[in-house]
Amino acid sequence: MKQTKIAIASGKGGVGKSMVASTLAMLLAKKKPIVAVDCDVDAPNLHLWLGENEKWDKVEKISTNEMPVIDHSKCNLCGKCVNICAFNALEIIKNKPVVNKLFCEGCGACEAICPQKAITMKHIKNAEVKIKNNVWGFPLVSAQLYPGQTGSGKVVEEIKKRAENFNHQIMILDSPAGTGCPVIAALQGSDFALLVTEPTPSGLSDLKRVLQVIKHFKIPYGVVINKWDINKNLSGQIKKEFRNKLFGKISYDKRVFKAIASLTPILKTNLPAKKEIGEIFKKLKF
């Protein structure tokens, strides 16, 4: 059976990606087997939107990254590793090459170039995968990149792989903000992307930034305007610009802020947002 990957993205943070992703996941789960993936491995929040606390069925430390370990007895200070490093993560300090782990991307170029074979790449635990079958009847696969660690894109790839193991027809991927490596990893291979924006100059600008990635991968997409009524002029402009891509709009509502402050999922409220996301759900023909 055909499995479908739907990504929720936005470019700008805090515009309502996880709100839309969590509510759509709950609605979809009533009809089909689904799995949800929180690709925001820097600061994962989707479990909170599902009204879940931090108790997981499974937590597992993983390694998606390697770091160089230097054998100083073999090193002759030739400096080749320092020169090759594209991320300025190596420096010779007091006659010793030192790795700045905050800058190191784990590419292994230093290991390959070292004529003395003084550098060995070693796996490090840089993240943990967290899995939970929630009360809404579907599994959530989430991950936390440890603060200060690099390699978020590979962590996203890893949790997407883990999610494949669950019986599902639809995979919902909640993308992080931005356009960089974890976003690319989240969007790659998606069958459809729902792009959430808000009618502010920043919301629109960031929508166009993430569209560059979407168009690059030729992913079909739809646009949702959250808080559409805070600037009806700009919402009108967005509607005009994305006419046949518009999948719906959600009204601004202070009560949404209050609902999330008390960890109440939108689907458990009677707010207009519930109905409005329901309309978006109907438009998704999966």
Binding site: P147, G178, T179
Partner: protein, 277 residues
């Protein structure tokens, strides 16, 4: 000796008001007759220029990175590069030439250094631009922006900061404010590193609290002193943030109440006129 105060504004979570707080801080400092450079380090989605109604002219600096390019005449299709690339950015169908997937490539250089046949050449590609806006006599905005689909945006931030520090020396600035991207990734780390103080902006919700803890952890690792700024402080549950402040012994520097005036100024690009800090 030249000394400029380097302050970062960060937060982990998106949409909590990092850019707003950065501009409000800049307003406060320049109104106290300080010379301020605001650096928009969110190179994936920079917005400070919009909030200040600035337009970009030609970039003052272009940032390039190196990427691999295949020399088919020399390539023996041995697949060595494919097996060594840790970014999985080289694809090779059986019996075919390898293909470099630029949007997954970090530009690390491993492949062109290890190719046994010298078949991988280096190509420079534009990955970022730096823009300079003089907003008023005592206030500069420096913006970094990635170009096209860029996997590794961290190095753009490092070069952007270098440009800003040089400018600070030239104009004898008192403060540099670094407005970081969302999250905790390499671009954020590079923006935060070597700053004298970081404001962690948050909102009084479980989401804000969750991400605040993470960014405070990161700042501790980076040895950057932190203070908290609570935005929309009168909505939601302020106790969530106060508790983290107590537990981590992090001072709450500012509490900014929800304000229609602020929201309006944000959406109209007039944040430069707001004096509330």
């Amino acid at each position: 000796m030249f000394k400029v105060e380097r302050i970062a504004v960060t937060g982990g979570k998106g949409g909590v008001g990092k850019s707003t707080v950065s501009i409000l801080l800049a307003n406060k400092l320049k109104n106290n007759n300080k010379k301020v450079i605001l650096v928009d380090c969110d190179v994936e989605c920079p917005n400070d220029y919009l909030l200040l109604s600035q337009k970009f002219k030609d970039p003052v600096k272009k940032i390039y990175a190196q990427f691999p390019k295949l020399d088919q005449k020399k390539c023996q299709k041995c697949g060595f590069c494919v097996s060594k690339c840790r970014s999985n950015a080289i694809f090779q169908a059986p019996g075919k030439y390898p293909i470099f997937i630029h949007e997954l490539c970090s530009g690390c250089g491993l492949c062109w250094h290890i190719c046994p046949h010298g078949a991988i050449k280096v190509e420079e590609k534009l990955i970022g631009q730096v823009f300079k806006n003089k907003v008023d006599d005592n206030f500069w905005l420096i913006t970094g922006r990635s170009v096209g689909v860029v996997d590794e945006t961290g190095p753009i931030v490092t070069k952007l900061k270098k440009y800003a520090v040089n400018l600070a020396k030239k104009v004898k600035a008192d403060y540099i404010l670094f407005d970081t991207a969302v999250g905790l990734h390499c671009g954020v780390i590079r923006a935060l590193i070597n700053t004298d103080l970081a404001y962690a902006v948050t909102e009084p919700t479980p989401l804000g609290a969750h991400d605040l803890k993470l960014i405070l952890d990161l700042l501790k690792i980076l040895k950057v002193p932190a203070e908290i700024v609570t935005n929309q402080a009168d909505l939601g549950k302020i106790e969530l943030i106060n508790k983290i402040s107590r537990q981590t012994k992090t001072k709450i520097a500012y509490q900014i109440p929800y304000s229609k005036k602020l929201v309006k100024a944000y959406s109209k690009g007039k944040l430069g006129e707001i004096k509330i800090l």
